[in-house]
Symmetry: C2
Subunit: 161 residues, 2 copies
């Protein structure tokens, strides 16, 4: 069993261990594939983000960040990013992180959550977000250049909180 807590600076090494293979693969996020550790952690742990980790004892299995998707008149909609450690796939970590993030966003007063850039070929993520109550509200043609599949669509997904 794993639990979810706020990330601390002591998690940086573990976070980079999760982020690095996802960034190097370049199949699901728009980080440049050569992003270095400092830049990646700077982005993931930006002051505007609330960052959480799923952990089993001292082992970190996954992470998510939560922030407002927009400023001003758009600040009532949350946005999140999620990553699961390669060797923790299939254990429901991403689902648990998403469920946690919906509660955290509600608690922070957000009215809805929006994902701006779900790569359409990331079928597992798309199916998971649908099962978590998200609707596909937009589809941008060929918005992502997948290193294997070439140009693929990106989805905008949304749910109320």
């Amino acid at each position: 069993m794993f639990s979810i807590r706020k990330a601390t600076p002591a998690d940086e090494e573990a976070l980079w261990g999760i982020l690095e293979p996802v960034i190097r693969a370049g199949e699901t996020y728009d980080f440049p594939r050569d992003t270095d550790r400092a830049s990646a952690l700077h982005a993931w742990l930006a002051p505007v983000n609330e960052c959480f980790v799923a952990h089993e004892g001292e082992r970190v299995l996954g992470t998510y960040v939560l922030h407002a998707n927009r400023n001003g008149g758009g600040a009532h909609v949350a946005n999140c990013g999620y990553m699961t450690a390669a060797d923790a796939q299939g254990r429901g970590v991403a689902r648990a992180l998403c469920a946690h993030s919906l509660d955290a966003a509600r608690a922070a007063g957000f009215r809805a959550m929006q994902f701006n850039f779900v790569v359409a070929s990331n079928h597992r993520a798309v199916a998971l977000w649908h099962s978590m109550g998200f609707d596909t509200v937009g589809r941008v043609p060929e918005a992502f250049h997948h290193p294997v599949l070439g140009y693929t669509d990106a989805l905008v997904m949304y749910r109320r909180l």
Copy 2:
């Protein structure tokens, strides 16, 4: 007649004269309505932006910024923001800026242009972008809190270059 050129630091006062009423109204952009001059110019003239102005002699009539909408695998899609001076409406400034931006984006090697957050109640802008070849590829329910109309949808608009 007006023409379009790159913005320079000498344009800051004129740019603020255009941005301030748009930001204070809070009806079309997600800047917080109390954004100060320094923060607004910092955002509009961010190093990642190419900034242009439409001008008639020394008078600045409008402005736009151009940048990549995403990084990494999404860096082939451009994004722009446009503003026209209140007393220069109805002269085709926004249309000319958009046409210029499409050429500038093509010249920079972008394959498409995407607008992430067109407030649906901004009918003039929506009609203009449609007439410039943009399709509505997404609609996010109540993503914008309009100071007069309340919660309104936001559109994702897109065209190839």
